[in-house]
Amino acid sequence: MKQMSSNILLQLRISLRDPGFMFTSILLPACLYWFFAVPESGNSYIANFLIASFSAFAFFGVMFLQHAVHTSQEKHNPWSLYLQTLPIPKITLFVSRFVTAVFLGSLSCVMIYGVAQFFTPSDMSLTLFTHILFRLILGSVPFLLMGLLVGRLFNPKSVVPTANFIHLLFSFVGGLWKPPEILPEMLQKISPLLPTYHYGMLVWSLISPEILLQNSSLYYLFGFSGVLLVLLKLTDRLKKFS
């Protein structure tokens, strides 16, 4: 427990004291929400829908980017190498990173919720917002695995632009910026093929009575996680042979 809490505390200190991280991961989603979603939030339903969408965008970003960057740096960064010489169980490192990402992702969503309360006609209760957060946390596992995979495949220099590109592309095409039904027709066809679409379904179904959380979305997220696990195992094996 002492190890776990010290790891979480250190990672929070590193992240929260880094202006670059704070801006891109915590403040930027709220800024983007302000610029693009607030003007569209004509009534409470649309406002609530966009809070859920942008919260999914923010949470996905933190979970995916944090793990991609950490994993990529592990083999190259002297600090990461030093960490590997300490008697820290892998599971402790992994859980502490996950807990840190959950905290930071939640903080990012709270910023969006705060902006919405001031500038939109949203009537989202704290209970509903907490429910949304809960679903975002549970549904973020595939993005954590996606971060691990991207982190293993790209070096520390290329991982940041690559991961940011994937984050923005998946968010936009998955319907986290604009509802999938108002995307261009071609993107509407691609949208359900992406995990972000099904991640969005987890929270949209809490806002709109017309959107039902289909089992297919849950199966998709489970299946996608399974594929990523297989790919991660494969990269492990390839690394051993190389």
Binding site: S6, L10, R13, L81, Y82
Partner: protein, 289 residues
Amino acid sequence: MSKTSIAIELKNVNFSYNNLDVFKDFNFQIEGDQLISLIGVNGSGKSTFLKLLLGLLSPRSGEVRLLGLHPRELKVRSQVGSALQEIDFPSNVRVGEMLDFVRAQFKDSHSKDSLIKDFSLEEFKNKSCSQLSGGMKRRLALACAFAGKPKIVLLDEPSTGLDVQSRKQLMTNLKKYQQEQKALVIMISHYPTEIIDSVDHFYLLKNGALEIISRERMSSLKQVSEITFTSEKPWSKVDEKKATIKGNHYRFLSTTPDQEIRDLCQQNFPFRNLRVNPLDSQSMIEEMF
């Protein structure tokens, strides 16, 4: 750790880097309770050797064992302290916070205050790591290496960036710690002649093998000087002095430079541009081994 127990063992280790064999069927074992210095020319594999011991690199084949276990076992890692050649700390974490973090990873650890005092970090304990100079970062890395009261300490050029006084202080602390804890300390040093009195043995890493070098041999190298001069006439003592010639430039090494110059003068040998320089440690290793 008693001296008779094997602290480190490498069996038939093969390791190559960029298709170049660094270790080929490498065998080595060493007992605890001693302070040893690893020397060798640049690129001889000293840092690779330490990384293999730390489990940061894996041999292509063969076995590496620390205290009888694989280096990546947590039981081993809880008894090993290390400071690698390249050091870096998260820039926005303070020195005191960093020591708290490292101490929290061990069941038994030195107090933060004693680490700060022993490694002269008092002035910097509230500063963030980004504000530290290279030498201060090195001190913090050393404090972290000793935080968990390790039985095996692996240090890669721990004195880099430290001034002469700090290097002396470091060796005093290292020796004191090693004797009190009966630990095995292995350090790669760029200044082997400065640490002769503190070190139990020197190991020379050359062509993928470790050879023990006595302290007496290292002491004799302390006074090696490089003598260079130019002369238009051929010098008859070239072979005897193992001198190298480039055009009319002569160069050779000697532990008795005064005597050599007297001899040159007594022979009435015409020379000019005479220079006598003490050989630095790294050049000495390259020249002598």
